[in-house]
Amino acid sequence: MQSPSAPGPQVDLKIVYDAIVVGSGAAGGMAAHVLTSQGMKVLLLEAGKQLDTTKELKSMEWPYDHPRRGEMPPGYHPLGLNEYNVRNPPYAKDSKYPHVESYVQGWNGPDYSKNIVVDEKDHPYTGTKYAWVRARCVGGKTNIWGRLALRLSDYDFKAKSRDGYGEDWPITYADIAPYYDKVDLYLGVSGHKENLPYLPDSLFQRPVKLTSSELHLRGELAKMGRVLTPYRAGVTTDGLKHNKYRSKCFGRGACDRRAGGCDIHAAFDSPTGLIRPAMDTGNLTLRPNSTVYEVTVDPNTGKARGVNFIDTESGKTYEARARAVILGASTLESARLMMLSKSSQHPNGIGNSSNHVGHNFCEHIMGPGINGLVKDLVGKPRTLDDGRPGSFYLARFRNLSDKQSNFIRGYGFEGSSGTTMIPGNAFETLGFGSSYKKAVRDYAGAYISMGAFGEVLPRYENGVSIDPNVKDKWGVPVLKFNYTFGDNEKKMAADMAVTAREMFEASGIEVVSVNREILTEGWSIHELGTSRMGNDPKTSVLNQFQQSHDVPNLLVVDGSSHVNASCQNPTWTIMALCWRSCEHLADELRKGSV
């Protein structure tokens, strides 16, 4: 593996690039990869800093070799569930702590990711309750993502045709399938073929293995027509001959001990998976510490001319120019940027003649889940159960061939079982002394648990707008949330707890606890919608190639374009769609038709 930190070409703000890409996560990194491989000269602007994540993450450091056992230094505070629920944002306002970070920093080993996620004090937002997790650095959230790499299907793309709600996507599975294949082959994905029409298989590398209790549950659920499959991890388990910055996975297991991250980059991250290879083409210029606050417009044509950005270190502002502007700043940041980009041609914000930018915001609802005990495993010799990049995924089973009476769409479960480095049951086992030690030891490997992720319906009234009264550290007006879960989500969440219990009981797993509590909006970190695609410019923002209906040389390639949330994790779809759109854009740039 080579160090992912060699510099690219110098930034030259006098030239007109073929494309400016805003944001360097899954979407921006993919746009940079596709366009540079097609010979386009690309300027990639990232609001955050350049971090050497190989050094930040220290995936194999033992807790006892860290001065605070992985905890953050004094003065760093992770927001907790209560703080999100009893107060309204901005959550860090008037905090006594010098540094306030989002809830993911309350997980194990937060010291390793404290520089990857943002300090909430610098990045306020207002409005309704929302647990917004942001990473501002090269690669964004891909540096610590949960790695579940799933495909969507026509059950999602044509959901309206199935149940009448919302809108269909302007594409079908057949349109995107070749691009899922490209993403699979270029980045690597691990999984087990199941031939499910509602959870299409990828071109899988070596799958993750199951523990004995997971294999048992898989067998029992099969009798109910439900499918528990090894975690489909966006991880190269066999290695990638074409990428010298990433190693294959060695099952070291740090991925679930901490917020995430992989210091050998077996788990996909944008810096090593996409950006460094793009730099090797000689066509990519990366400028970190560059916060774009406006898409500029050619006064004659109304088309995008480039972007204005602030150097976050010097505070100086610059304009960069390009033939096309591609937003991949994240679902919420791209919407913010479009709404901030007001001009005489686009008084409502660029690309927003439909008044749909910021609306139809959707994600996944989570919280309900279950913890169970497999009694046959109590007191058994230690096995190695966490040395793998994920445990299991239980595919959606609601509203496929059946029709639930009180909610539409579906949910899947992510779960895990077996031994971990630090036994979680040590904090739940009563008593003290040798009997306590023995109980912790005997039961530590015998638990199995899972939690659901459900589709939140897109609704026009659920969204974000600009709050002109509150500004971030650099003086840019912030987002105001107007977003809550609705009736369909709450009924679906109630069903999650019921089916979780039903499945464990049917499998002979002793139910230890069932959680019915819904976590704060935003908890899934799967923000989607806000600039949805569609064929009708009056009710959608983008066409099927993620081009603005109003401004053909403006693309939005992150989760903003998704028409609904599905219940399946979005990252692989973001990258497949982006690949398809950027290939199309490259054709148009060559023809001079944008």
């Binding site: 194999m60 033992w62 807790p63 006892y64 001065p67 605070r68 056992r69 905890e71 004094p74 992770p78 907790g80 569930l81 309350g106 997980w107 194990n108 293995k209 199951l210 004995s212 209790s213 294999l215 048992h216 898989r218 067998g219 499959t229 099952g251 070291r252 297991g253 740090a254 919280g367 889940g369 913890n371 497999v374 046959d376 495993l377 230690r382 096995t383 190695l384 159960d385 966490d386 040395g387 793998r388 895990s416 031994t419 480095m421 630090i422 036994p423 979680g424 040590a426 904090f427 009563l430 003290f432 002394g433 040798s434 306590y436 030690k437 030891r441 638990y447 648990s449 899972m450 959680n515």
Partner: protein, 188 residues
């Protein structure tokens, strides 16, 4: 989701605490310990004894004393950003001595080993729903002790015999393609 609650529990456990350099692990128990940073020497002795009662050395593995749990608690309290955890811990130790005096007319450290265990047992009586201040202190002390112990070298390697955090070429476990198996033979 279990992952969430488990991680939150670890967080809660770590909330009042936070630090011991690796070097502390290597110091032999018999070597002269450096002066505590926050605790008085008497308090340190008391915490050392309390944590050892909660997680003792036994035939399976060394306990909290060998894992330098008191030293970890001392350093983390010393560097805590807030003053409240320090105050609460100090008050908690006073509650232990009050209870000990009430039960045995002796301070905790002056008591016999059997009497000390009886004091801890009294504090642990309502662990699920602690009401009295000394019961609440026990829950806090135990969570901190468990965190410090199970993240220590002794806790991870000797007590839990953790096999991971190594490079493997093949994942451990079972192929999903296998016909569902019976759980491992209980007679082994």
């Amino acid at each position: 989701m279990e992952g969430h609650s488990r991680r939150d529990l670890l967080r809660i456990a770590a909330g009042a605490v936070a630090a011991v350099p690796a070097v502390a692990q290597q110091t032999a128990e018999t070597a002269a310990s450096p002066a505590p940073l926050f605790f008085t020497p008497a308090e340190f002795q008391m915490v050392d004894e309390l944590t050892e009662i909660i997680i003792p050395s036994d035939a399976h593995s060394p306990g909290a004393r060998a894992a330098k749990v008191a030293s970890y608690l001392d350093k983390s309290l010393a560097e805590s950003f807030e003053n409240e955890p320090r105050q609460k811990f100090r008050e908690g130790l006073k509650l232990v001595d009050n209870l000990s005096t009430q039960l045995h007319k002796k301070t905790f450290v002056e008591s016999t080993p059997k009497q000390r265990v009886a004091v801890v047992a009294q504090m642990a009586r309502n662990e699920k729903t602690p009401k009295k201040p000394e019961e609440q202190f026990f829950v806090q002390l135990k969570a901190s002790t468990a965190f410090a112990y199970y993240t220590s070298s002794i806790g991870i390697h000797q007590e839990m015999e953790y096999k991971g955090n190594t490079m493997q070429n093949e994942y451990a476990g079972f192929d999903a393609g296998l016909v569902p198996i019976q759980l491992p033979d209980s007679s082994k």
